[in-house]
């Protein structure tokens, strides 16, 4: 009986050691291949890490579903927006001629783009689904400059890992990693359904990230900051929204 339990003890400790070192090896591999999200350290870290890693592995070459023109929603829903403030109102009165998108951070040449300058990039359009995490959705045609072209123009440094994007609404910002930032469907969007992007849908400028839920498609973007770490942004969780 004692021999049996000693054997069991040895087997258990070998299994535990193997398990622990397996986990450590997996963590180091995951870090090397960029599978660890910025909020991995929170109490929901395990779930977030599994979701993020699964998406990074599965969606490497995937494109968001695109729809035929006949599927465009007749009644898209803009959702409510907090008051946009005095600065926005003044820009709107000037037909947004003074709107700027500043691109800074880990770039070779920080640039502040006007809307006409952004419209000189190759125009891409897509008919994609926008699903809000609340549960509602619509399909629209979005057009704009691929973010990858904008990032090429400013020359992102090799150590860049995230793009932080800010709204003109105070304290409202989001971030995406380079995989999403360089994705061909990620657009600096200025048009919707063949027209200028309406203000309630984020006009004059909205970042569309169609492989993510709607809250990642931030309205009224004014600034993109390229960074290698999200620690210095808010609570370091990668978004203004985590409660």
């Amino acid at each position: 009986m004692s021999r049996f339990s000693r054997r069991k003890l040895i087997a258990t400790s070998i299994a535990a050691t193997a398990g622990a070192s397996g986990l450590a090896a997996a963590a180091s591999l995951a870090r090397r291949y960029g599978l660890i999200p910025p909020d991995a350290g929170s109490i929901y870290g395990p779930g977030e890490t599994l979701t993020y890693a699964a998406q990074r592995i599965l969606t490497q070459h995937s494109l968001a579903r695109e729809f035929p023109r006949s599927e465009i929603s007749k009644t898209p829903f803009a959702n409510e927006v907090d008051p946009l403030g005095e600065t926005f109102r003044r820009l709107q009165e000037g037909a947004f001629t003074g709107w700027r998108l500043t691109v800074d951070g880990m770039v070779a040449r920080p640039v502040s783009f006007s809307l006409p300058e952004l419209k000189r990039f190759p125009r891409r359009s897509q008919i994609t689904h926008l699903a809000c995490e609340e549960g509602w959705s619509y399909i629209a045609e979005w057009a704009g400059a691929p973010l990858s072209h904008v990032l090429d123009a400013v020359g992102t440094l090799p150590q860049a890992r995230y793009v932080v994007y800010r709204s003109i609404q105070s304290d409202w910002w989001e971030s995406i990693d380079m995989a999403d930032a360089l994705h061909p469907q990620t657009l600096v969007t200025y048009a919707m359904n063949g027209d200028e992007l309406p203000v309630e849908f984020g006009g004059p400028l909205r970042l569309r990230v169609p492989r993510q839920l709607g809250y990642k498609s931030v309205k009224y973007i004014t600034r993109l900051t390229i960074t290698d770490s999200l620690k210095q942004f808010g609570k370091g969780l990668g978004s203004a929204s985590p409660e």
Partner: protein, 253 residues
Amino acid sequence: MSSPAWVASSASEIRVAAVRVRHSAVVRITHWITTLCFLALLVSGIEILISHPRFYWGETGNILTAPLFKLPIPASRATVPTGYGFVLRDQNGWSRYLHFQAAWAAVLTGLLYMICSLFTGHLRNNLLPAGADLSWRALSAVVVNHLRFRRPSEAEARSYNVLQRFTYLLVIFVLFPLVIWTGLAMSPAIASVFPAAVTVLGGQQSARTIHFFVSVLLLLFFLVHVAMICLAGFRTRMRAMITGRIGKEMEQS
């Protein structure tokens, strides 16, 4: 299913050996982890649901389109017309986090349970109905016993009767996979990799609607399951699922 640790050599020893393991350790551990996950998913799921208690069919739907149906409850968003004069607090932040964390824990626990069930014979011995149980007479006897609220026989108390087997098979092999599938089909990232997983269901909003109905069925299973435990003897059943042993009471009944 698991055998006594020693071979009984006399009748008296058989009685002792009869106080044996009702549920294996794997079944007990995965059962309770799944219970915790289910409750976390239920609470967080309801929290997410109240931000838009309307359902649609097809790819799209929002408050400007006609719903398939709506739940007569207040919402946590002022934009949703509910008929109530107030708006509930929005707590989608932690709800979404908890929903995903619990979903991962449930899926990984489920996988462990599936693999172990295949290898230990739990699936074959305890879940798949025996041929003799499938006769019309046997099936109707079980149904009648249930309708008369008769306590289970000793043999039944050791394993699952045929109705339990059907129910557990339905939950494990139909409802759980469906709820995981429809949950994943709501993710734009997953839809970009497996578009057919969404289109087969009729669209992203159809996936959400099916997710809701499967969740209702799982909740129904949960309530009936707890009710049956109470009817069959709460203490002995709980002891069996916690310690793994059948109590003396069950031996004598």
